[in-house]
Symmetry: C2
Subunit: 338 residues, 2 copies
DNA sequence: CTGAAAGCGCTTACAG
DNA sequence: CTGAAAGCGCTTACAG
């Protein structure tokens, strides 16, 4: 019924073995190459993935494991990875998982049953080390967004540390000296890195970080972001500016300042991390450090493909994608005021 | 190397044909059923999808075509569909596509090459009829979120009309009589339906809709939402309340009212469509009509599976998922005021 | 470089 | 209901 490799063999007068070699980019006479290409085009031949997979033990599908899709950030990363992978001939099957061991195991099991050739994993936290170590013994794996300490694994993340550093450096350049850090959860890799960068920038400017200027939360929740700002503005000498390490925390801070009628940036300057349509729509626009989501997704896909193709030269590799400051109107220039 | 159906046959003393029948839920002696189940369990047998696919011409994978994943709404829908499908033994490969013919064709081509057994499509607009009609001749297809007029196709959507009706009915119950409708794009199925419902509610209350109280946009953009509110508040007798038909439009309206220092709900009441964490974090909380995203995703998956399994009884079917009003504090009760 | 043959792990008629 | 045999469309050694 449908066109097979046999039809191409008949049509070209070559053997199926040669057609197969063409399909797999193995050396054949360039004359034959042309003939085959023309025949494939003419007959609209499409290789049968099931047959290829059955013989070669490779499924040409890769798994992407994501915490939750209820989040435009992961969804977007997934989208870019998927695009890159698709263009290279792979399909992706994506799974979301809950932050518990049972869910992780089920997800891994399902993926392995599907005989995926590799996986990109976005971990919840360090605990997900377990799930990745099970996987990476069997197939190539990339950790996205998190660097898992205990696991020896390829990772691609944003330059979180540098992004945090940039945010504070900018605030300092605008004359701020008392800067609060809405540091988010203590167990989040990204939050930790961004906070570390922020503190380093402070230190490099000769400012000793004060613990009352750092507010931690349990999770990335707007409600906790609100509370963080509340807390930090109630100390003896409140800051003139705050750096919020993530979207939800930043939204929370914004909500809290509007409840207190703080005028931004006059009463309080703010820099967030992660851009969103809302930060450019709102007045004043909110200055943020923006992640390059497209590169994040693509590089993860590319690195994974290299591993699948057998290139383990630089293993384990940590790829950092630069994050960049988007300057808007939420930071007051204290120097101009003087 | 890995366990195959042959191993199970050996272990149980039955033939591979019988094991295959077990795997495919065909009638076998219940005695044998038990023996096989035990053996599969014992040897950790996992059927090889490639082999099954090669023989049976079914891939047990289904395609989900999505406008963009850069959107928590689609991502979430995808997540729920994926979960449902996975539990039923299918994997999903998802593709995003651009709103142009070339991109659509490439996407369809890629999916068809993968021999998907069915597809769920979230169209951009009526134009996507083309892409769906190409697909649905070959494999079962469900349209999600949109009902495509010209294509005879299964669809599952939220009760958009009813949701719009509810929003206005609520506003009326709070004593509002002059109500603005931020109607979004004229070519969006969901926007049209929600607006239709809103207008019907007005009419049913004996209020003739006035065209100056309806503001359309080109796309779903916050900037256009801002402009819509601006426009509608500048007419001779501005409304006491507005209904925003979608998230972005609602955010835009909120931003515009904050720029004008309208106090919500005192100066202006507002009801949105589509919930978001931000609407419950903000003060006052924003009243919205909420879609049941989980059901949307699940029902689409279930309907598709029914079609794939050959049940075309109720074709074409339109499944409407109820949307429900979440009452918060953005609507002023004018009756109490009197 | 090319080709003949075997075989990947299943499902599908077909007999029994 | 069960089983023997053929075959799905490829890739993989192996000769040539």
């Amino acid at each position: 019924m449908s066109i097979t490799i046999k039809d191409i063999a008949m049509d070209t007068g070559l053997s199926v073995a040669t057609i197969s070699k063409y399909l797999n980019n193995k050396p054949i006479l360039s004359k034959n190459r042309e003939v085959i290409a023309a025949s494939i085009e003419k007959l609209h031949y499409i290789p049968n993935d099931s047959a290829r997979g059955l013989r070669s033990k490779r499924s040409h599908t890769i798994g992407i494991i994501i915490p939750t899709l209820n989040n435009s950030f992961w969804g977007t990363v997934l989208g870019y990875s998927e695009e890159e992978l698709r263009l290279r001939g792979y399909s992706v099957i994506c799974c979301s998982h809950e932050p518990n061991e049972e869910s992780s195991k089920k997800t891994i099991r399902a993926l392995l049953d599907k005989k995926i050739d590799g996986a990109i994993l976005i971990p919840y936290s360090q605990e997900d080390c377990q799930i990745i170590s099970v996987l990476k013994d069997k197939i190539p794996c990339i950790s996205l967004d998190h660097v898992l300490e205990s696991a020896n694994i390829d990772a691609v993340t944003s330059a979180n540390y540098e992004g945090g550093y940039e945010a504070i450096k900018y605030l300092l350049s605008q004359g701020h000296r008392r800067i609060g850090i809405l540091a988010g959860p203590k167990n989040s890799y990204t939050a930790i890195e961004r906070t570390r960068g922020a503190l380093a920038a402070l230190r490099d400017a000769g400012i000793a970080p004060e613990s009352e200027l750092i507010a931690y939360t349990e999770e990335f929740l707007t409600a906790e972001g609100q509370h963080s700002l509340e807390q930090i503005m109630n100390i003896n000498r409140p800051p003139t500016a705050v750096f919020a390490v993530n979207y939800d925390i930043c939204i929370g801070a914004l909500i809290n300042s509007s409840m207190h009628n703080y005028r931004i940036p006059k009463d309080l300057s703010i820099v967030g991390f992660d851009d969103d349509i809302i930060f450019s729509s709102v007045r004043p626009g909110i200055t943020v450090v923006n992640q390059n989501i497209k590169e994040l997704g693509r590089q993860a896909a590319n690195l994974l493909l290299r591993r699948i193709e057998g290139d383990w030269n630089d293993y384990p590799s940590l790829i950092k994608i630069p994050a960049s400051l988007i300057t808007r109107d939420s930071v007051c220039n204290l120097k101009e005021r003087l």
